[in-house]
C-alpha cells in the first residue's frame, strides 16, 4: 500500500461504526507513517470499527510500556528496533562506536531486552500484545568486514531471539514472524537513514506498510479453517489408481513423486494439530482401501474420515463429508489436482477455499504448504485437537444409531454410559473455551465473537461466571464441548454466550448444562441473550422445544418450566474444581499490582 492510498482509505467515512478499538502503538521512534499505515490496514480489516491509535514518548519504549494503563478492550502494539535496546544501535544517536565500547553496548542491550520482555509479559495479563522485534539492519559498528559476522553481532541477535522465545510463549502475546516479513519486505530496503535523521522515523514507506499489514493481520486473527478434503489420484499419490494399480501409485523420490509424499506428511501434520481430514475421489473404493493399506504409505488410513469414494460429482461427495463433519463449507479447504473438479466444487460451495494441487511444480507445492498453514494456523494445539478425529467418528456412530429405524433415543443414551464433567471456574487461561466461543456457529446463543480484550474484561468482572462441560461416553471422549458465560445477579443468571460443539449434538448435554446451572447457582430464572443468526438453527430449535414457541431476544427460562419439559437425562455428572486456578489468579493479580506500581 502506498502512503497516498493509506491516507485515502482513512478519509473514507465509516458507515454505522459498531465499535471503537483503542490501540496503543508503542515504539521508540516517531510513529509517523507506521501509524498511518497501521490505521489504514486496520480499517481494511475491520471496516465497521473506529480505531483510536495512541502513541508514547519518543526514545523511551520501555518507559512507555511501563507507564501504560490499558483500559478495557485496549490492545497494545510494541514495535521494537535495535535503538530501543541501546541508542548506539540506531542511526540518530551520536554515542560512541569505539571498538572498546561495543561489549558495553551488548551488555546494555541485554539488560534492556530483559526489561522489555518483562513489560510485555506483565501487560499481556491485562490486554493482548502484538510485538515486532528488530526488523532493521544493525549499523556497521563491528570490527569485521560486512561479509564476516562478529560474535558481538551474534550475541545481539541471540538476545533478540531470546526475547522472542520468551514472549511468544505468553498466551496473549503474538509476535510478528520475522521469516514471513523477510519474504515480503526486502531486508536491504527497510531502512531510510534520511528519514531517521530528519524526522526520527527509520522505516522506508514500503517497509512501514508491510510491517503494519502484518501487525493488522495478527490483530484481525481470522479463525482457522477446520477441515481439509483431499483428492487421491495425482494429489495424495502420483498416478491414476484405476489405470496403473495399487502397487504402481507412488509418493517417493525414486518415482518422481516426492511432492505427493511431502503432501501426505504435511496434511498428516495438520491432522495431528486437530484439522479434520477426509478424501473425496472418483475411484473404485476397494482399490482405494488397498492403496491406503499399503505398508509404505505415509498418511495413515485412520487419519482420513470419512472416505467418499464413488463416480458421482465431487461436489456431492464433498456435501456428504460436510454432513458427516457437521460443519459449514467456509470452514473447509478442498484440494484436487484437476482444475475442473476444483471449479465444480467451488461452484457448488462458493464459500469453500478450493485449491488446485500443483503436482508438477515443486515451488508451487512449497507455496501451497504455506497457504495451507495460513488457513489452518493456530496459537497452540489443545488436548481436544488431538482427539477431534476420534470424536468425529464417534459422533457419526451416535448419529447413525439415533437415526436407525425403530430406534429408542432414551435407551440408547442410557446405554451410552456418558459422563459430563462440569467446571464452574472462570479460568482466563482456558484456550479451549475461548476457541469454542469464537469458532462455534450452530449451537451458538447469538453468534457473538469475543476478542482477547473482551475475554480478559469478562474474567475481571466480579459477578461473571463461566461453565464448561467436558463429555465422554463408551464411544470415546469428545473433550471440552460446551461453554456458558454470563453474570449472576443473585436472583437470576444472565447468559451472554452459550456455545456447544456440533460433535456433541443429540446427547442432551445442553439440557444438563441448564439443569446444572439452576441447581448449582441456586436461581429460578435464567435469562438468555439470544439472537437468531443465519447459522444457529440448532440452538433455535432447542430453545423452541423448551419454550413451546420460537426463541426471541432476551428470553428467560424458569426452573419449574424447565424441569417439566426437560427429557430424561442419563449422564453421570462430575464437578471439577481446580485449586491451581485460584492460585494462578492470585499470581496474576499480584503481577498486575506490581506492574501498576
Amino acid at each position: 500500500m502506498k502512503l497516498l492510498e493509506a491516507l485515502e482509505v482513512l478519509k473514507r467515512p465509516i458507515s454505522e461504526p459498531t465499535s471503537t478499538r483503542e490501540l496503543f502503538l508503542e515504539c521508540g521512534f516517531t510513529p509517523l507513517h507506521l501509524q498511518t499505515f497501521l490505521a489504514a490496514h486496520l480499517r481494511l480489516c475491520f471496516p465497521q470499527s473506529r480505531n483510536e491509535i495512541r502513541t508514547g514518548l519518543y526514545g523511551d519504549l520501555a518507559g512507555n510500556l511501563e507507564r501504560l494503563q490499558p483500559s478495557n478492550g485496549s490492545i497494545i502494539c510494541a514495535v521494537v528496533e535495535w535503538a530501543d535496546l541501546d541508542p548506539r544501535l540506531g542511526f540518530r544517536s551520536l554515542g560512541s562506536w569505539r571498538s572498546t565500547d561495543i561489549p558495553k553496548v551488548v551488555e546494555s542491550a541485554r539488560r534492556q531486552s530483559e526489561r522489555l520482555a518483562l513489560c510485555v509479559e506483565h501487560l499481556a495479563e491485562r490486554a493482548p500484545v502484538y510485538a515486532s522485534l528488530p526488523t532493521l539492519p544493525l549499523p556497521p559498528i563491528f570490527v569485521t568486514r560486512g561479509s564476516q559476522v562478529h560474535h558481538q553481532e551474534c550475541e545481539l541477535r541471540q538476545i533478540v531471539a531470546s526475547v522472542a522465545t520468551s514472549i511468544s510463549a505468553c498466551q496473549r502475546v503474538k509476535v510478528v514472524n520475522a521469516q514471513r516479513l523477510d519474504e515480503i519486505s526486502p531486508f536491504g530496503e527497510r531502512l531510510d537513514p534520511k528519514a531517521e535523521i530528519g524526522s526520527g522515523f527509520p522505516y522506508s514507506l514500503e517497509h512501514a506498510s508491510r510491517l503494519a499489514e502484518m501487525i493488522a493481520t495478527l490483530i484481525r486473527d481470522q479463525p482457522p479453517k477446520k477441515g481439509l478434503i483431499t483428492d487421491l489420484d495425482d494429489t495424495l499419490w502420483a498416478g491414476i489408481l484405476g489405470e496403473i494399480g495399487v502397487e504402481a501409485v507412488s509418493w517417493e523420490m525414486s518415482g518422481g513423486a516426492h511432492v505427493h509424499g511431502l503432501y501426505q506428511r504435511f496434511i498428516e501434520s495438520l491432522g495431528t494439530a486437530g484439522v479434520m481430514l477426509a478424501a473425496a475421489s472418483k475411484n473404485d473404493s476397494s482399490l482405494v482401501e488397498q492403496a491406503l493399506a499399503r505398508k509404505d504409505i505415509l498418511l495413515s488410513r485412520d487419519a482420513l474420515f470419512p472416505l467418499e469414494i464413488d463416480w458421482g460429482p465431487k461436489s456431492t461427495s464433498v456435501g456428504r463429508i460436510l454432513k458427516q463433519w457437521n460443519i459449514a463449507p467456509d470452514d473447509v479447504v478442498f484440494v484436487d489436482d484437476s482444475p475442473m473438479e476444483v471449479a465444480e466444487v467451488h461452484a457448488a460451495f462458493p464459500q469453500m477455499e478450493c485449491v488446485v494441487f500443483p503436482k508438477n511444480d515443486c515451488h508451487a507445492v512449497w507455496d501451497l504448504f504455506k497457504q495451507l498453514r495460513d488457513y489452518f494456523g493456530k496459537g497452540s494445539v489443545s488436548s481436544e485437537d488431538q482427539i477431534r478425529l476420534r470424536s468425529i467418528r464417534s459422533a457419526a456412530a451416535v448419529r447413525d444409531s439415533l437415526h436407525a429405524p425403530g430406534h429408542d433415543a432414551d435407551s440408547f443414551l442410557r446405554d451410552a454410559q456418558a459422563t459430563i464433567s462440569f467446571a464452574l471456574e472462570a479460568d482466563v487461561r482456558d484456550n479451549r473455551a475461548f476457541e469454542l466461543v469464537n469458532k462455534t456457529n450452530q449451537f451458538n446463543l447469538n453468534g457473538r465473537r469475543l476478542s482477547q480484550s473482551d475475554w480478559l474484561n469478562f474474567h475481571q468482572s466480579p459477578c461473571a461466571f463461566m461453565l464448561t462441560a467436558t463429555y465422554e461416553d463408551k464411544y470415546g471422549p469428545l473433550g471440552k464441548v460446551a461453554v456458558v458465560m454470563g453474570n449472576n445477579d443473585g436472583s437470576k443468571l444472565h447468559v451472554r454466550s452459550w456455545v456447544m460443539s456440533c460433535r456433541a449434538f443429540s446427547r442432551r448435554i445442553e439440557h444438563q448444562c441448564l439443569r446444572y446451572l439452576f441447581e448449582k447457582m441456586g436461581v429460578d430464572q435464567i435469562v438468555l441473550d439470544f439472537k437468531a443468526t443465519p447459522r444457529n438453527r440448532p440452538i433455535q430449535d432447542f430453545l423452541a422445544a423448551l419454550l413451546g414457541r420460537p426463541a426471541s431476544p432476551n428470553l428467560s427460562i424458569e426452573r419449574a418450566s424447565f424441569n417439566a419439559k426437560a427429557p430424561a437425562l442419563h449422564h453421570r455428572v462430575v464437578e471439577v474444581t481446580d485449586d491451581r486456578i485460584e492460585g494462578k489468579r492470585e499470581e496474576s493479580l499480584e503481577s498486575h499490582r506490581l506492574c501498576c506500581q
Partner: protein, 89 residues
C-alpha cells in the same frame, strides 16, 4: 502535466481533506504546514513516493505556493530524465 497536477492535488487533499481543490491551488504550503507539524513531513514523503523526487522539508516550505511546488516537480522530473528523453520531450 495535467496528470502531475491532478496527483499533486490528490496529495494535498489527502493531508488537508477539509480544503477544496480551489483552496489547495491557492494555498501557501508554509502556512498549511505550520498548522500541523506532521503535515509537512507527510507531504515530503508523499512527493517522494508519488513523483520519485526527493525534497527536503525546508526546500518545500521555501517554495510556498502550490504552483511553485508544481513547477519545481516538473523541472526535477525533467532533470531526472536522460538527455535523450529530454530532447524527445
Amino acid at each position: 502535466m495535467a496528470e502531475l497536477d491532478d496527483r499533486l492535488v490528490l496529495c494535498f487533499s489527502s493531508i488537508f481533506p477539509a480544503l477544496t481543490e480551489e483552496e489547495i491551488r491557492g494555498s501557501d504550503v508554509a502556512l498549511l504546514s505550520d498548522m500541523d507539524s506532521l503535515a509537512g513531513v507527510t507531504l515530503v514523503a508523499l512527493i517522494d513516493q508519488e513523483f520519485g523526487v526527493e525534497i527536503d522539508l525546508e526546500d518545500l516550505l521555501r517554495l510556498r505556493s502550490f504552483g511553485a511546488v508544481q513547477r519545481y516537480l516538473c523541472e526535477r522530473r525533467v532533470l531526472n530524465l536522460s538527455p535523450k528523453e529530454q530532447i524527445i520531450r
